[in-house]
Symmetry: C2
Subunit: 150 residues, 2 copies
């Protein structure tokens, strides 16, 4: 019997969210073990989506993280040859992040692996339930990010 189902009030929901998320990411890593990067897949997708116009600040916003972490991510992806920093012409403080051909080659695999991991995670749920889960997760996320006052 899963203790998760009962007495939820005694169990921090966030603990299970985090743990489940970690299981997911470890699954994703396994599916992408053929690549020579082992993290920041999602950053790569966001960067590609930005079509060479995305700045580090914007990446930070999209990831919900800070600029220091983004420096690390960008350093990592640059060092592995997946992206480049391009000094912006309009504003020389900014860098535009552009994917390399290597990234272009890897992205289909990454997308496929993400779809596969999602599939595995959500398998045995009906199409409606999947949609419902995603919807509710979005609500929970925004509930938690709303005003901290009680």
């Amino acid at each position: 019997m899963d203790t998760l189902l009962e007495n939820i009030d005694n169990q921090p929901l966030g603990f299970f969210l985090t743990r489940t998320g970690k299981s997911y990411l470890s699954e994703l890593n396994q599916q992408l073990s053929n690549l020579d990067i082992e993290r920041n897949y999602y950053s790569l997708i966001i960067i590609e989506r930005g079509q060479g116009q995305l700045t580090q600040n914007e990446l930070a916003a999209a990831l919900g993280t800070d600029k220091v972490s983004v420096v690390r991510i960008v350093d990592y992806l640059v060092s592995k040859g997946y992206i480049r920093r391009l000094r912006s012409k309009e504003d020389k403080r900014k860098f535009c992040l552009v994917g390399t051909p290597k990234a272009l080659l890897a992205l289909p695999h990454i997308r496929k692996a993400i779809a596969g991991a999602n599939e595995k995670a959500l398998s045995s749920l009906s199409a409606d339930e999947k949609k419902e889960f995603i919807r509710m997760l979005g609500i929970i996320k925004s509930n938690l990010n709303s005003s901290k006052t009680f």
Copy 2:
């Protein structure tokens, strides 16, 4: 428009689970900022549930983590005066983890804060939806932990 709702196949579900879990834990920390510990609340609940019989190994299993991490957790809670290690009489390799009066005093607040954080996270969901979400999260967790072969 929330990008989470569409094109989920391009977005790693685990990323949102982890992020939502972190928001939750930060909320929980805020609600418990009056305590002199700032983590391992859930471990404390598990230890109290064990009624002085829980070993470090068993705590590791309950948390889904390894024994090295548990040493750190136990060291922390011991150093803060919330628990003690009691050498087991039956098996001198083992320690039984027992809560102190200080823990007993803190636990109601912790439980209340967890219930409150759960409430905040799940607010604006109906009772049925809440149950559904918890149920599906359990399914997803077990889906991901099942056989890694594809």
